[in-house]
Symmetry: C2
Subunit: 210 residues, 2 copies
């Protein structure tokens, strides 16, 4: 914990990792809105407007959890994973790679691809990672904002493994533990650490944590 406090608490930010978890849960309770269809709206601090101070504390907790895994690359997916992944990459001191959901003119060469279903977009998409930036020498930590059905996370694991990289685990901001993704992927033997795990969201807007 000393290591964590020293890293996450430096500069003008003062959250330690554990503190950040309490703050994350209370932010979800206070600012999260439960919408029909099992949607949790947390765009005031997580995936539209981003509370970087909170992210810094969350990244500190991810460092406490995975700091001894010799992670040399962080992998995430555009767009909502990028913020937390970058703040986490800063503490790990390693580059961050994000899977793209479309091929743009400035991308060239060969790609690892996977098909994912998007819960919030309501469609399926191909995601792309350039073969230049993932290899068998990489020890990868996957970061994302949400884990629900697990489709995006499985897509990222799949891409890392196509490259022969080692998946050291996944760090997730919010897991909807009442959906099957986390259970299914943990049963395959992958380590997933979710900073907040939601057990139940009520029709009355209530949120219960695991």
């Amino acid at each position: 914990m000393l290591c964590l406090a020293a890293r996450a608490g430096r500069g003008n930010f003062h959250l330690t990792g554990v503190n950040a978890l309490e703050i994350l849960e209370s932010r979800i309770k206070r600012d999260g809105k439960v919408l029909p269809g099992g949607i949790l709206k947390v765009d005031s601090f997580l995936n539209h407007q981003m509370d970087i101070n909170l992210f810094d504390g969350m990244a500190g907790e991810l460092y406490r959890l995975f700091g001894d895994c010799e992670v040399n690359k962080i992998l995430t997916i555009e767009a909502s994973g990028i913020g937390l992944a970058c703040i986490t990459g800063r503490i790990f001191g390693c580059p961050v790679l994000f899977a793209k959901k479309s091929l743009t003119k400035n991308l060239r060469g060969e790609f690892y691809t996977a098909e994912i279903e998007s819960f919030t977009h309501g469609d399926t998409a191909t995601i792309y990672v350039s073969k230049e930036y993932l290899s068998s020498s990489d020890r990868v930590l996957i970061i994302d904002d949400f884990l629900a059905t697990g489709s995006a996370l499985m897509g990222l694991i799949n891409i890392a493994e196509q490259a022969g990289a080692q998946v050291m685990g996944a760090g997730i901001a919010i897991e909807k533990a009442f959906q099957s993704g986390g259970k299914k992927i943990r049963e395959k033997g992958y380590r997933i650490e979710s900073l907040a795990r939601i057990k139940k969201m009520g029709d009355d807007g209530s949120i219960e944590f695991c």
Copy 2:
């Protein structure tokens, strides 16, 4: 400069802002690839794989430039702007808001919108920012990875001004100064600080800075 060095150089990162600019230019020269059609491929460190150590130095330089502007919100656009915006937001100690290119199920309410043309996607798109997160009390710094035609930047300025927010300026990683965007927007009176300004890209792959 003392302030900058103390902030940007803390922890396990050691780039000061000015140092970072030299490193950014040399990275563009070393790793950037000039592709047909005026495309600069810098996805090894800027917009697919992201060098967070370099971002930290760039953010330090942006703090040196805009640190006295009482910025209270950073505005960017998904996906490639988010990484640098978050690392910059950390140094400014303020939240980061990113404009979305599509409306997902977890977004509700009213939005400011603007139409932009994407150079790398080769199409036009509507961008969205929730009215909840921008207001007339905001002093906004806009961050993006590239400035070329200026369409994305004008869209973000437009959205900030719809909200009545003050645009304190824009911080850009790479400006293609041979395209018209920067000149056009500066002539409207906006402050733009680009960390690297490219004067010319040759058919032989050469890159010349301003």
